[in-house]
Amino acid sequence: MVFYELFCISRPFVRKMVYTEATDIAKNLAKRCGTILLDRRGAIDGFEVYGLKELDKPIKKQGEKYDFGFWWGMRFHCSTFAQYEMFKTLHQDPSVLRFNIIRKAYKIDQL
């Protein structure tokens, strides 16, 4: 089990059928990522929320420009295969502007 850290900048809002706020978008994303990990014998340490922040430069995603983003993070233990599954879902998701998965330690003893 490897110790990872996810950092994600998600969309500030969605202006389609129903107006959803940044916190709801981030919550849905976190739930999806969490279920992927827990289904594959992973463990979640905790979440970090940095809030809605102004971006240094506008980010384009699927034809839309965003000047603000919701910063949040997650720490978890899982296998490399589970981490790759999570990477694929985040990469394809349109509500994720930027993300990064960092390996903190191979084992808990190394922390």
């Binding site: 102004e54 240094d56 930027r98």
Partner: protein
């Protein structure tokens, strides 16, 4: 002139000319052998000496004298020990201390913090040299990794410093 003479003669460390300018005579040179290192002194001509009157010249160690050349203007306050130390410390530009060693943390822990990382960037977003930042070699390497990671993730811009840093600093 009489007032100057009275002011100058009150100092016991040395004697100077009546106009207040220093005339260097008989400067002893340093030898290469440390054991036979001569004490570098300067002797100053007094008005009484030039007139031929008997007066004792005082040899002053250079560590107690300010760095003045012939023709320089000085005041009595420039001859105090505090003024001499202050003049020497002006030329010394000490490097700032490494804050990460004092805290016991590494710069990689702050890769999500654009305010901290922007302190180590120039106006155009370039990473400052280790001679300017004052960090240790290990921490400078970790700092560059943290800055590049932040740039790739969208936390830090690559051509300027962060907006969040600019909002917090006072220009």
């Amino acid at each position: 002139m009489k007032l100057l003479d009275s002011l100058i003669t009150t100092f016991q460390h040395g004697t100077f000319t009546s106009t207040g300018s220093i005339v260097r005579t008989n400067v002893l040179r340093k030898s290469n052998n440390l054991r036979s290192l001569r004490f570098i002194t300067t002797k100053y001509n007094t008005s009484q000496q030039r007139q031929g009157k008997n007066s004792s010249s005082v040899t002053i160690p250079r560590s107690l004298m300010p760095n003045l050349g012939p023709g320089d203007v000085y005041t009595p306050s420039d001859l105090t020990l505090e003024a001499v130390d202050a003049q020497r410390n002006e030329f010394r530009q000490r490097r700032p201390a490494d804050p990460f060693t004092a805290l016991g943390k590494s710069p990689l822990d702050y890769w999500k913090n654009p305010v901290v990382l922007s302190e180590y960037l120039t106006e155009l977003g370039r990473i400052k040299h280790r001679a300017v930042t004052g960090l240790s070699a290990k921490h400078q390497r970790q700092l560059t990794r943290a800055i590049k990671r932040a740039r790739a993730t969208g936390v830090l811009p690559s051509k300027c410093r962060s907006v969040h840093w600019a909002l917090q600093t006072k220009f």
